[in-house]
Subunit: 156 residues, 2 copies
DNA sequence: AAACTATTTAAGAATTATTATTACCTAATA
DNA sequence: TATTAGGTAATAATAATTCTTAAATAGTTT
């Protein structure tokens, strides 16, 4: 289940449970980011939330994203080219990352659970999260770039 | 096979094949980074290579790391906290990433090949690379942090 | 409901990893 | 050896993220 299917009440409770105040700014950011499955950057979140909450500041967006990460409601996905994107899907899954257009699409990876379980049992490493990316060119970009794209043309 | 098992000759040929000159700076950086399996940051590479080649500049390190990435001899692993680390293992594998001390250890993941093949055959996505991270606390750090570490205490 | 207080916000400054610029320099080649 | 396209070192520029601070407010207490 995606957290964004949960009610506003649940979001507020999650914040308060950890001692965070449920401010209207935070609620606006949460509502936006928990339902955007395109893996937006902080700047995109800022631009989108501003439509609903025009006085919000970029610093508040950053700090709320940090809180949401701490609450394990979103995952942070740093990429090269100085861009970090945010994913409301915190369950094990595969991110299909297009290096040309920057599109990121989640696909299921049911085998992840048993893989993590096996590693957990065979090592002394205490697992708290994971990230599985597959890089390449999406169906739209793939046909235009027969050879591997030069760095300049890459978004991620 | 790791590329760092290859000879100096092979490194030079790989550079020239793509039209890059085999300068002593590049060779020094290659020799270092292709044998360091601790996933060093650019700054660490700079500090280490400087011992062998004291006049080298940080900009050259960055630009050579970019070349090595283009030649697919290393993989770039961006993390939060503004740190990017570099991995000479470009074959599918799992990075076990300790969030407390920042240690990254590769483990094998033989099932990766069939997974990638299956995705390749069932989608129109053209795969060029992958990244599989497992986050948590290594055997050394795990015993000291029963609860999930606060953000301030995390290295990655 | 008003007061209280620790937290949060907005704005802007600071930080810093990475990239760009530029004036020499040199590897590869003829 | 001369030529030259590309590389280097030094440093400036860029930009994502974090920090700082004064004013505001959420949650609680009276």
């Amino acid at each position: 289940m995606y957290i964004h299917e949960k009610s506003l009440r649940t979001i507020i409770d999650a914040l308060r449970k950890k001692g965070y105040k449920a401010t209207p700014q935070r609620i606006a950011i949460c509502k936006y980011v928990l339902q955007d499955t395109t893996h937006p950057s902080a700047k995109i979140v800022y631009q989108r939330v501003r439509k609903e909450y025009p006085t919000i500041s970029l610093a508040t967006v950053y700090q709320t994203l940090k809180v949401l990460k701490e609450l394990n409601l979103i995952q942070e996905l740093p990429f090269s080219k100085r861009e970090t994107r945010f994913d409301p899907n915190v369950n094990p899954h595969i991110n299909m990352v297009c290096l040309k257009c920057g599109k990121i699409v989640d696909i299921n990876f049911p085998e992840a659970d048993s893989l993590l379980k096996q590693i957990s049992e065979s090592t002394r490493f205490r697992i708290t999260g994971q990230r599985i990316d597959i890089y390449g060119f999406c169906e739209v970009c793939g046909q235009f770039s027969i050879s591997i794209a030069k760095n300049k043309e890459k978004m991620l």
